[in-house]
Amino acid sequence: MSLTLDRNSRQDRSSNQGILLSIEHLAVRFSSRERTVHAVNGIDLSINDGEILGLVGESGSGKSVTALSIMGLIRWPGKITGGRILFKGEDLLGKSKREMRGIRGDRIAMIFQDPATSLNPVLTIGEQIAEILIYHKNLAKADALRKAEEMLDVVRIPNPERRLKEYPHQLSGGMKQRVMIAIALACHPELIIADEPTTALDVTIQSQILDLLKDLRNQYGASILVITHDIGIVAEMADRVAVMYCGKILGQGDTDSVLMNPAHPYISALINAIPKLDEERETLDAIPGTVPNLSKLPRGCSFSPRCKYAKEICFDKEPEARRIGKMIASCWLNG
């Protein structure tokens, strides 16, 4: 058992950094005969070197589609219809499938939500980690397996030599997730995308995994994009936060500013809706209504039908993103 004190080192990280990834006006749509869904509707987002960026949103917000776009994994009926994704200055959207295969797993890696379905059930753990190293680094199998064992140790799996020969079904959920992290880290990527990395795990295991990710960021200097619906997780881990709703980013900035002083009613409403351990209330501040149909978004701001501060202009015109206080938000209030 260990006691971990979270230290406030976030301020130091945000300054003086290079931009690793820059998403500009990204638009992704999914079309069928009946309707078109604008899953991502013009977003601007950047991730700095060595930073943990939290991307928060509820179902249908477009956060997972954003991750898949970065990885070049959008397939029909999905289509990227606009924008650029600059990775160290190069536009990933202009790369061929072959070039993306070279980047995926090597320079940008992804950890998925459900490790049970993301690991190959018929390959041993060792083989799955070695696969990446053989493909990207041209290692011989024996060397790749040796490195795989090292990675299992890095992600704190006990008895790594034994685990190498085991199959995914022999591991618990928490172990499987560590294996996913080992696979993601094997080639020392510059960016790791973690899509709901702990949602399928118990809260005490979640705590271990989040600590592991933070330590690995410190050790390897990789940037991490953490995608989650859980604001508590971003509060604990992220240097900066962006909040998505119906395909748009409604607000982004450093974690402290976004969560303590949100300049967007949706963000404050979302925080208020969470039951708190240190508060006693009779009723929660629920957000009325439901997320709109993504193929029939309301005119103006997509949050306006549910917003208690909405004015006439909110229903009419979509707000632009601009600096409000210490963050960037898309809202007509707050002058």
Partner: protein, 323 residues
């Protein structure tokens, strides 16, 4: 006292080995005790494998125990006749986690709710039936025009309201809720939690609220029972649980709940290892291998659930000795 659970145990025999030769016993629920009073909400909290869902199924008489008893208004539910059991089922209802899977996709939602009324012969005329359905729909915040729609036409939160309506229309005394909001977005979760509190008051219900999410349990419940690998490790009123948890597992569980306030730097008690029933069931306390305060006695003797303070029960050798 609506419900009393006495030393409830449920063991599952399973087989392993190449030719299924060796068998071992999974002690899913291993001696659980608790009570639910009229109008009270009891939370049962724990992580995967703790036995909370199995305990829920035992209470609902969906499975029978290996030993122990469940008393409803003083009478053992496992001794009920067929008629008495049917009456019990009317009195003790259930709300599921997966609202999609628990609603028949080929039935209109009004019919889904009406079916329950028919089985228990609640309404005597068609008008009366319709009236009850409409009223319940309104109580759970659904439009009466939606009675003729199918489940797939609703969102997750709305489907959960339909599930609640179905449970409510029988005017039960107690509802077992198995992770009722875990599959919902935060903003919808808040709506449903508010609704559940409201109808509890209005219909004078008791709840057995099963969840892994302590924050949700704190909002809805009056008392909480914490389970770990089949055993009840702590049980008390919710204020006591969060203000002064006594069991090391409870302390760890509370400490690792992420807080949306980034300025709160709390001390996390990160547990090493994982909860493994087979490894843990070696004779002593099941939490011994992960406990930071473990002593020799803990590995030898399994602690009993004991009332160490008024209405505060703990199963730990070290509790009560300076906490």
């Amino acid at each position: 006292m609506i419900l009393e659970v006495r030393n409830l145990k449920k063991y599952f025999e399973t087989r392993k080995g190449l030719l299924n030769q060796s068998s071992y016993t999974v002690k899913a629920v291993d001696g659980v005790n608790f009570e639910v009073r009229q109008g009270e909400a009891l939370g049962i909290v724990g992580e995967s494998g703790c036995g909370k869902t199995t305990a829920g199924r035992l209470i609902l008489h969906l499975i029978t125990p290996s030993s122990g008893d469940v008393l409803f208004k003083g009478r053992s539910i496992y001794a009920f006749s067929r008629e008495e059991l049917k009456e019990y089922r009317r009195n003790v209802q259930l709300i599921f986690q997966d609202s999609f899977a628990s609603l028949d996709p080929r039935m209109r939602v009004g019919e889904i709710v009406g079916e329950a009324l028919d089985v228990h012969r609640i309404a005597h005329t068609r008008n009366e039936r319709e009236e009850i359905i409409v009223r319940i729909f309104s109580d759970v915040g659904l439009d009466r025009e939606w009675i003729r729609r199918y489940p797939h036409e609703f969102s997750g939160g709305q489907r959960q309201r339909i599930g609640i309506a179905r449970a409510l229309c029988l005017k039960p005394a107690l509802i077992v809720c198995d992770e009722p909001v875990s599959a919902l977005d935060v903003s919808i979760q808040a709506q449903i939690l508010n609704l559940m509190k409201e109808i509890q008051r209005k219909y004078q219900l008791s709840y057995v609220f099963i969840s892994h999410d302590l924050k949700v349990v704190k909002h809805v419940c009056d008392r909480v029972a914490v389970m770990y690998l089949g055993m009840n490790v702590e049980m008390c009123g919710k204020e006591s649980l969060f203000a002064s948890p006594l069991h090391p597992y409870t302390k760890a569980l509370i400490s690792v709940i992420p807080n949306p306030n980034p300025r709160i730097k709390r001390k996390k008690i990160t547990l090493g290892g994982e909860a493994n029933l087979l490894a843990a069931d070696q004779g002593g306390c099941r939490f011994a291998d992960r406990c930071s305060e473990v002593k020799e006695r803990c590995r030898q003797e399994s602690p009993e659930l004991v009332e160490v303070k008024k209405d505060h029960f703990v199963a730990c050798h070290l509790a009560g000795i300076g906490g």
